[in-house]
Symmetry: C2
Subunit: 336 residues, 2 copies
């Protein structure tokens, strides 16, 4: 296999049945490319991996102070949560505290990612509502910002709303892409989302943890502490971002985005990483991310073992039999 | 774009967010490659696209005659059905007629593909059972063969059971791959499945319709008549295989297989085709298949229009807004 190539193989019995192509970039705080596979300049949308940046203005503009956000509450503003009861309670509590209700959320409903929670709703005959949307915490943060700044809450999801203009400047600053050159589209939850090459995403995550480590009391410091200290609120039971932060005791910051984007940072080294599965399929993200981090020396043997079935994922059939596996074949290229 | 390249682009706003690579082969009855994109020799498993071949012995060995199968019943033996009430009734009726019950099915349960049917089960508090498995008709056919031939039904799904040895010879004959060189694995429903390059899959489908057109009373003729005449029983409401056969008035035979394989045949031209999305993701199959068939001249303008959102598929967010689309960019290469 030539240098810089990355594939996640889907094996059934002795043959590879499907293949996912991987691109990834590892970047230091100065923006230097340390290692990559595939195309480190592949452009994708941040999607939910932008959530830490969407939450920074909450701290910087004293919204978290005004409404006395706990770390768990700030973490859920950075979350793609699983809709477990504790997630839903936390969002509803925060909504009340900022003087809003579920009706003010502009995301659409979807069933909780957490299967037992989705099944509980079904058993009770309750359709999922907006608060179950994995982005409801982020939306609540945007409502809180609007309340605190005294601007109209309706339409907070649109690109021209003050909260989105504020976030756009934040993302421009961290990625180094001028604000007027950030390409926008509409995310799954209705909020504006921005495009970025993988090396830009990784650099933004490196800068985020760099700022956080230099000054724990900075907005970056507060956001990184909330996410890495309360990883359950950033995802949920068994979710990859949550597990990566839990398994490394918060040394890694991790945030997944739809269409198979994972942004990461190592707080000790102040390095950032971004991994994208070309075809957008989620099942390949765990194998690609764990193998990329392992080869880059960012996961110990013990941590790799603890992430076992995220690293090499069994394929089961409807009888519950293991009939294959997903496994990443990566060969990292250096910067040289 | 260079000749022979095939991609399904997933666009969000003005940018391509994800990409699916397409391989496809179009083959005539003599096995000649007429057109292709990507790698026409890409090896994958037949999965459910083997179902017409798995059903041929039912006719050839007089099982359909002995148990008086209707066309709809033979079609459901070739089906990845949606678990709609009519599918479930048809399978249960056939099971009774051959002297078996749902307990004899060796597939695992999964919720019906048809969402209203899945929701109805949930509302009634009934967990899905084996008969709801999309392959339950195929399994019933294998039970019927075993009953008729007087062999043990238990273990009919295993590679060394007489019904599977019979099917293996059938697949070897139609693909031209010697039986002892067919590579096997276990399918999602527990039955043995065989690997084949795309051009081999396409050739087998060309030979199937070739035999059918030469002799309507042949096993191939009976299977092709059942599938193209009763397409609802081969899939279900809104399913791609069903719609392709309905839209063309049965001129095309179509059967989807898991991990994004679609096998097709044009009965008039006696050509076969096989399309595979490299990464196995189902959402790209409609755009790739309809565009491939359109460029190969196998779908009229009217038929392409009737398959509208299969051809260019809108991407919706949780608010129900159209935020992007899937569209195939193919450039067919000729055989020369």
């Amino acid at each position: 296999m030539s240098s810089g190539v990355g594939i996640v193989e889907v094996r059934r019995g002795g043959l590879v049945e499907s293949r996912h192509r991987v691109s990834a970039a590892l970047i230091d705080e100065q923006g230097r490319l340390l290692a990559h596979v595939g195309d480190p300049e592949l452009v994708s949308f941040f999607r939910s991996a932008a959530k830490p940046f969407q939450a920074l203005p909450l701290v910087a503009d004293s919204v978290t102070e005004a409404f006395a956000f706990s770390d768990a509450e700030l973490a859920i503003c950075c979350a793609s949560h699983s809709g477990e009861p504790l997630h839903v309670e936390t969002v509803l509590g925060l909504l009340r505290r900022v003087g809003c209700s579920e009706d003010d959320l502009e995301c659409g409903p979807h069933p909780p990612f957490h299967q037992p929670s989705a099944e509980a709703l079904r058993r009770e005959g309750r359709p999922p509502t907006r608060v179950h949307n994995n982005c409801s915490g982020k939306h609540t943060g945007m409502l809180a910002w609007s309340r605190h700044m005294g601007v109209e809450t309706v339409g907070y999801r649109r690109a021209d709303h003050p909260v989105q203009l504020r976030i756009r400047r934040q993302i421009a600053e961290l990625t180094g892409t001028p604000s007027d050159r950030l390409q926008a589209a509409v995310d799954g939850c209705g909020v504006v989302t921005y495009a970025q090459p993988l090396n830009g995403m990784a650099a933004a995550f490196a800068r985020l943890v760099g700022s956080a480590e230099r000054d724990a009391a900075s907005p970056a410091g507060r956001v990184v502490r909330a996410m890495t200290g309360q990883p359950y609120y950033v995802g949920g039971s068994g979710r990859l971002s949550t597990r990566l932060m839990q398994t490394t005791g918060g040394r890694l910051l991790a945030k997944y985005g739809a269409e198979a984007v994972m942004c990461l940072a190592d707080r000790e080294r102040r390095w950032g990483a971004a991994v994208k599965i070309e075809d957008g399929q989620k099942r390949a993200v765990g194998p690609a991310v764990v193998e990329f981090l392992a080869q880059a020396g960012l996961l110990s043997e013990g941590e790799q073992q603890a992430l076992g079935e995220e690293h090499v994922t069994p394929v089961l059939n409807t009888r519950g039999e293991v009939v294959g596996e997903l496994r990443a074949r990566l060969r990292l290229a250096g910067s040289g």
